[in-house]
């Protein structure tokens, strides 16, 4: 790694080389070199002989640690102990695991001598569904229309908010009801949500289950005060660097307040105008109190990322959005805005706008701009949009990569194949697959089998009534010939394998998938052989099933419910396998990045060019409809009994758009391309706040008609 020492400013150097016991609060806008300071400070401490294993890097989200990982992995970094990199959730989980025997009883777990089970979002939703479903039949939540899994996730979200904001989970409904300004009769849904949250917490304590909220509460209330755990943390982590502290919730800030006086050194880094993760409880306001716990406060103001022209454009939009805000450094210079927009006369329809965007990307690359210096940002990246853009760019040989936070596991063809074959291999579940699903599974499972042959084969060999497959050699010879003996032979291998499995006692579903994949589907001649995508999806499905089994297997067994059957039904209901994270993706170094705007911000990197897609969309600022929870009302600063009004909603939208625009602008070095079409992705006409703000900015600067 080339030394960057000669590129650092005196301000940066003074923090990096500050005394080894310095406690510094560093703030500044994105692109002012704060994270560079964080990275170099750690390297300097290491070079000064501070053991890496005495350092903790705390980040709100793993992606934000990327520059630190890069430096720590470099061969030029000093040898020694490894620096610990954690999120607050990771720290809480680690402490619960280590000190469980000491606190499990006092924390109220019914079986303190049994190990804890950590719930994923998926298994937490399943347990919530298990408890709430009977209540829905009794009339709970009947006055609202909402998908069930969204209902479950919002109740879980309320519990998480209570944990990270730091109020008792029993006060959720009181807070939500007091801010409700709609029809009085509707407020009872908050009581329903409270009842479900209480039920879930009790169930977790009875079964040693820990969702995210309980991990945080156990850590905060029982582990941090426990002498053994407290000493462990103080002895092991003597030096702290916390980046993007504004993206953390109040409980993390409370912890840092308590921890800082006991640390040898600390560097807290605050990104001004950020706080993008408000929906997870991020609270820039409580973060500010940390300033007083540091001996030195430093502000960086020189931007190394955005050009003056780009900043000027950003300021103009910001001023247009919040004209009453006089605190910003908003100055509209008479310099051209470095922007381009799609021609209004030829991009009426959404696909036309996509064509224009792809054309502009191609021109930039032709001009020598590296693809990795281009990002395409939207408010929400649907599968359809991702596909459309990727296909268009692929055709031109332009590499792309995307990192949507999640995508549906159950919609993957490999998943459907595995689930169909599982249903077939477990006739006692009473879930025989349809002929359509089975034919589809055969196409995926047997390489070279087309739709016509698959349907023909299924029609002949499968009887849904008894869920059994008949042998290939019982098919008429002329039909065998039509299907081909080669494919028939593969079918027969699969049939015999399934048949042999049925004769034995059933295995756990995840082990069944391991075996089906390894012994059949990935073998030569079968559809998953050398298909790495199918391997990846299968691995994810197996992981999902395994975690499901570990979390709920015992309870289901006690109730006499086959776990595999329950899993399949929950997949059908959309409770599990609805979304999952791909394994940590390796970023392709030189490819156009397609992402939702907030995902890009949480990667904290700057690029030369940004494309903002569909700037008329309301998705750029509107909150997702969440009738059962509320990030603002459940924050530490909302006054009890103050109603949340439409004006509050408008202000919050405007404020979040303001932050978003400035965050994007500060991560753009050369220019912005604005994609707009008269009709949006769904075919509706839209003129949202962002479009209006840009329009006003251009007009007031006299730069556009």
């Amino acid at each position: 790694m080339p030394s960057i020492a000669n590129q650092l400013t005196p301000d940066q150097i003074s923090i990096i080389e500050a005394p080894l016991d310095a406690k510094i609060f560093l703030e500044g806008h994105a692109g002012t070199g704060k994270t560079t300071v964080g990275v170099e400070r750690i390297l300097t401490l290491l070079e000064a002989g501070i053991p890496g294993n005495q350092m903790l890097l705390l980040v709100p989200q793993r992606t934000l640690a990327a520059p630190y990982y890069e430096a720590l992995r470099s061969p030029t970094t000093t040898a020694g102990g490894a620096v610990t990199v954690l999120t607050i959730g990771g720290l809480a989980k680690r402490m619960v695991e280590l000190f469980w025997p000491l606190i499990s009883a006092e924390a109220g777990f019914a079986n303190p001598n049994r190990p804890p089970t950590f719930l994923t979002l998926e298994t937490a939703q399943y347990n919530m569904a298990h408890l709430v479903r009977p209540l829905l039949d009794q009339g709970f939540f009947e006055s609202i229309t909402i998908e069930r899994n969204r209902l479950y996730s919002q109740i879980l979200d309320n519990l998480s908010k209570a944990a990270v904001v730091g109020f008792p989970h029993t006060e959720i409904s009181q807070k939500l009801k007091s801010a409700w300004s709609g029809e009085p009769g509707q407020a009872h849904i908050y009581d329903d949500a409270q009842h479900c949250a209480n039920l879930f917490r009790t169930y977790c304590l009875e079964h040693n289950l820990l969702d995210f909220s309980l991990q945080i509460e156990v850590f905060r209330n029982h582990l941090w005060p426990a002498p053994v755990c407290h000493e462990y943390l103080l002895e092991n982590y003597r030096h702290l660097v916390a980046d993007n502290v504004e993206e953390n919730a109040p409980v993390t800030h409370d912890l840092l307040q308590a921890w800082l006086p006991e640390l040898e050194s600390g560097l807290l880094i605050h990104d001004l105008e950020a706080g993008y993760r408000r929906f997870t409880g991020a609270d820039p306001q409580t973060m500010y109190e940390l300033k007083d716990y540091c001996d030195q406060q430093v502000t960086f103001s020189e931007s190394f990322s955005a050009s003056d022209e780009v900043l000027n454009f950003g300021y103009a939009i910001a001023q247009s959005l919040l004209p009453e805000d006089e605190s910003g450094p908003f100055k509209i210079d008479d310099v051209p805005f470095p922007i381009h927009h799609s021609p209004l006369d030829s991009t009426r329809y959404y696909p036309q706008m996509l064509d224009w965007i792809v054309e502009q990307i191609a021109l930039l690359i032709e001009d020598g701009v590296p693809p990795g210096e281009i990002v395409v940002l939207s408010s929400y990246l649907s599968d359809a949009l991702r596909f459309s853009l990727t296909e268009r760019l692929d055709e031109l040989g332009i590499p792309t990569y995307s990192h949507r936070p999640s995508r549906s596991l159950r919609e993957e063809p490999a998943t459907q194949t595995l689930l169909t074959l599982a249903a077939l291999a477990h006739p006692h579940w009473g879930l025989p697959p349809s002929k359509f699903d089975l034919a589809y599974a055969f196409i995926q499972a047997i390489a070279g089998l087309d739709l016509v042959r698959a349907q023909l084969l299924t029609d002949i060999v499968y009887q849904k009534r008894n869920g059994r497959l008949s042998p290939f050699d019982q098919i008429k010879p002329e039909t065998q010939e039509r299907i081909t003996y080669k494919l028939g032979n593969l079918y027969e291998k699969l049939r015999l394998w399934l048949d042999a499995y049925i004769q034995e006692p059933p295995e756990e579903l995840d082990h069944f998938f391991n075996r089906l994949f390894g012994e059949m589907l990935s073998q030569p001649g079968f559809g998953f052989h050398a298909d790495y995508d199918a391997g990846e999806v299968t691995a994810n499905l197996i992981e999902s099933v395994r975690k499901f089994r570990w979390a709920v297997g015992e309870s289901l067994e006690a109730e006499g419910i086959p776990l595999g059957k329950e899993y399949l039904q929950m997949v059908d209901d959309g409770v599990i396998a609805a979304q999952y994270l791909y394994r940590w993706q390796t970023q392709i170094e030189d490819a156009v990045f397609l992402a939702p705007a907030y995902t890009f911000l949480m990667r904290n990197r700057s690029v030369e060019y940004q494309f903002w897609l569909d700037i008329g969309s309301r998705g750029w600022y509107e909150r997702i409809r969440q009738p059962l929870t509320h990030p603002y009302v459940l924050s530490r600063h909302w006054d009890l009994h103050r109603p949340w009004t439409d004006a509050d909603e408008y202000d919050a939208s405007r404020d979040s758009l303001h932050r978003l625009v400035l965050g994007l602008i500060r991560r753009c070095r050369r220019g912005i391309f604005l994609g707009l079409s008269e009709l949006g992705e769904q075919g509706y006409e839209h003129k949202g706040l962002l479009l209006k703000a840009i329009d006003r900015a251009l007009r007031s600067a006299g730069k556009e008609e």
């Binding site: 053991p51 470099s74 990199v85």
Partner: protein, 286 residues
């Protein structure tokens, strides 16, 4: 889906298990670490026994860690009352005179500590179950082994773990020794088997061994760096393929081998040792 990767990323961090994979089968290394392919076949049969075996291994490591952090023995023991095997392991550990607290009064135990150091254009990393620094400056590396068989010392000596761990302690352990690098002759590695508590496998280190290891590891990494983009050669020892998840991809068999036969070296084979990277340290304790 991520696009295929043909070359080892510059940020890759080597460990004893990734290097052991390379030595055992270059193709396995290529698929696992360069291309990062998930290939979820059964590793050993019966699958459930294998799962229990791995879980117990993890849990034992955690219990040992808790012990060194000061969690009372009886509290730790309470967690495994219903599991005969784990209870036996714990009894062997807790009853072992060698691990009694009084023996460590003037010593510095470092449980679950990770060290890393540069090697060529990369870094190498290891997570030690327990490092003990004795007053006279001797450093002992303890490694807990939960396999049912106790392999021969000769076999252990040649494992990458026995070479990487002491080598890395020399290279990266100065901060644990008042700023002075350990001399190879100050280091000893001890494998402690949960089912053979009195049969320690002690492997002393020496300057000669350090020189050999340094040259050997540098050569291995240089070889890996120069791997071409084509398919790497498969192992000549096809018995290994029975316990390798990629066997179907390489047309090297259908069913997984029996756990009984694999267990001797299962831990070191990567059966439960998780591949370590800086990002994993953040998420996974063991």
């Amino acid at each position: 889906m991520p696009a295929p990767i043909d070359k080892l990323q510059s940020s890759f961090v080597f460990s004893q298990s990734s290097l052991q994979d390379y030595v055992d089968c270059q193709r396995r290394f290529q698929l696992r670490y360069i291309q990062q392919r998930a290939w979820p076949a059964v590793e050993a049969e019966p699958a459930m026994d294998n799962e229990h075996f791995m879980q117990r291994g993890l849990q034992f490591h955690q219990m040992a860690h808790q012990y060194w952090l000061g969690v009372p023995k009886e509290k730790i023991a309470g967690q495994v009352k219903g599991d005969k095997i784990l209870s036996r392991w714990w009894k062997n550990f807790a009853g072992s005179k060698g691990f009694e607290e009084r023996n460590f009064q003037n010593q510095k135990p470092f449980p679950e500590i990770s060290l890393s150091a540069p090697i060529g254009d990369f870094r190498i990393m290891a997570k030690y179950d327990l490092l003990v620094i004795q007053p006279e400056g001797k450093a002992i590396i303890f490694d807990w082994k939960t396999s049912r068989k106790r392999p021969k010392r000769e076999w252990l000596i040649h494992r990458l773990q026995s070479r990487v761990y002491p080598y890395l302690l020399v290279q990266a352990g100065a901060q644990l020794n008042e700023g002075e690098p350990f001399k190879p002759e100050q280091i000893e590695m001890i494998y402690w088997y949960t089912d053979f508590p009195d049969q320690l496998a002690r492997i002393p280190y020496s300057p000669k061994q350090f020189d050999e290891d340094q040259a050997y590891l540098a050569r291995l990494i240089s070889e890996i760096q120069s791997m071409g983009e084509g398919e790497a050669p498969l192992t000549e020892d096809e018995r290994r393929c029975r316990f390798c998840v990629y066997r179907s991809l390489c047309n090297r068999g259908v069913e997984a081998g029996p756990l009984e036969e694999a267990e001797g070296d299962w831990e070191a084979e990567g059966g439960f040792e998780l591949e370590l990277g800086f990002e994993h340290i953040a998420e996974i304790e063991y």
